[in-house]
Structures are given as structure tokens and as C-alpha cells.
Symmetry: C2
Subunit: 151 residues, 2 copies
């Protein structure tokens, strides 16, 4: 049984501050983190999609909650695409992420901006308000995947 001190130490060991890896001790940690953030984001975005596509009944409260989670998560992955994190783990990130950094940054900013609108639209509380914003976020996801993620 680990002591609490050892537990807490282990929890913070991943947070070494090195410029090259932007707070990740190893490339694998950065890759796992960014994939995890994207997985959580995609799950909650998918729940909105289920409402938009009529697969589940529209629920204004659930829509607002899911959109808020999507917004929080949408800000996280990008800092974990630092130099040296192009290899390691099972990353599907293409070399273009690092070769075309301005374009990748633009794509991530586009996503975050559309997600802000999605969150605002979800708070309106109607399915119609959600639909347009959902489609625009989906397009932003796809735009980035098409250019920066292996099929």
C-alpha cells in the first residue's frame, strides 16, 4: 500500500516543467494526455450529435451540460502537441502538425471558437439552436482530422 505522500508524489511526477515538452515528462505522457482529452471531448460532442440526429430525445439540460464539458475540453489538447511529441505512444498525429504549425494552430483556434458558439447555442435550450452550431463544430473537427491526423 502506497502512502499518501508517495501517491501525491507520483501524481505530480508527470508535471515536470521542461520547455520542450510543455509540462509533460515524456512524449508518451503528452500523447496519452492529448488523446484522452480528445476522447472525452468527442464523447460529449457525440451525445449532442445523438440529439441533433434524433437518435435520442432532445434534453436542454443535458445538451447544456455536454456542451459545457466540450468547451472545457476543447482548450486542452493543443499544449500537448509540443516539439518532440511527434513520436511515441500510438499517436495518429501526422508530421504536418509540426511542419505546418501556424496552420495547425489556426485549425485548433477555429475549433475552440466554434465550440464557444456551440456552448452559447446549447444554453438557448432549443434543438434548432443546437443544430447549426453542432454542424460547424463537426466541420472544424473534420477539417483538422483531414489535414493532421492519419486515417
Amino acid at each position: 500500500m502506497k502512502t499518501i505522500a508517495a501517491f501525491v508524489l507520483a501524481a505530480s511526477a508527470a508535471a515536470l516543467s521542461t520547455p520542450a515538452l510543455a509540462q509533460f515528462a515524456k512524449p508518451e505522457d503528452a500523447i496519452k494526455y492529448r488523446q484522452s482529452a480528445l476522447t472525452v471531448m468527442a464523447t460529449h460532442f457525440g451525445r449532442l450529435g445523438a440529439m441533433v440526429n434524433g437518435r435520442v430525445a432532445f434534453d436542454a439540460k443535458a445538451a447544456a451540460e455536454n456542451a459545457a464539458i466540450v468547451e472545457t475540453l476543447s482548450k486542452l489538447p493543443w499544449a500537448a502537441f509540443g516539439e518532440g511529441t511527434d513520436k511515441g505512444g500510438n499517436t495518429k498525429a501526422l508530421p504536418e502538425v509540426w511542419k505546418e504549425q501556424a496552420k495547425f494552430k489556426e485549425a485548433s483556434e477555429k475549433l475552440m471558437a466554434e465550440v464557444v458558439k456551440l456552448n452559447a447555442a446549447a444554453k438557448v435550450g432549443t434543438l434548432d439552436s443546437l443544430k447549426g452550431a453542432f454542424g460547424n463544430v463537426g466541420a472544424a473537427c473534420k477539417g483538422c482530422h483531414d489535414n493532421f491526423r492519419a486515417k
Copy 2:
């Protein structure tokens, strides 16, 4: 190249509403989701730990941001421990999660309650305020891992 419609459909396919899996199409999806949420939470908790342990300089703004992310994430994993998600993927969850559901629920609620306090403490903006709350969250993490997670 997938169309946006196909992309959005894929995004929402994971959100089938089945009672047994609580919004996850497959046990593997629930396992991947809960592990992802815990990974993101642990990363940001670790950044607070680095400040608490003096590994990096205390930064009140960063502390508040990290604590807020921890709070959002702390609410997410538990719904993904539904019936039928005890096997699949590479889960380390012990059978006790499902055998002792009341105790597991209590442990998750303890964590969430301590994280609310952590978030409040981080907003105070001093390292001292953070330290105690950080330790209590660490203890709540450890308590649950000791009983419900394979070593």
C-alpha cells in the same frame, strides 16, 4: 475523405442510449472514456502537486485554472462504470467496483466533495490555501485506488 455528415454520424455513434451501458455503445468505449477522464484529471491534479511540492513556482492563476479543470473532470468517470463494463479494454478496475457499489459510490462522492474544496482553495490564491485541500484530494484518490483498482 469522409463527408461532414459521415463524420458527425461517427461522432454520435458512440452515444447510443442503452440502460446497461449508460450511453456507451460498447464496454470498451466506457472503459476508454473513464480512463481518459481520469488521465486528464490526474494530469491537472499533478500540476497542482508540482506547486505544492515546490517542484515548480506557485502561480495563482495556473493553480485556479488547473483546479477548475480537475473539478469538471472529477464528475465524469463514474457514469462509465455501469454494469457490463467490468471487462474489456485494459481496465484495472477490480470486481469490487460492482460488488460493493455503495462503497464505490461513496468513494467517488468523497473525491468530488474534496475537489470542490480544492477548487475553492485554489481561488483563494495562496500556496498555503492550496496545500491542505490538495492533500485531502490526494487521500481521496488513494482511498479509491487502494480498494477498487488493481495495482
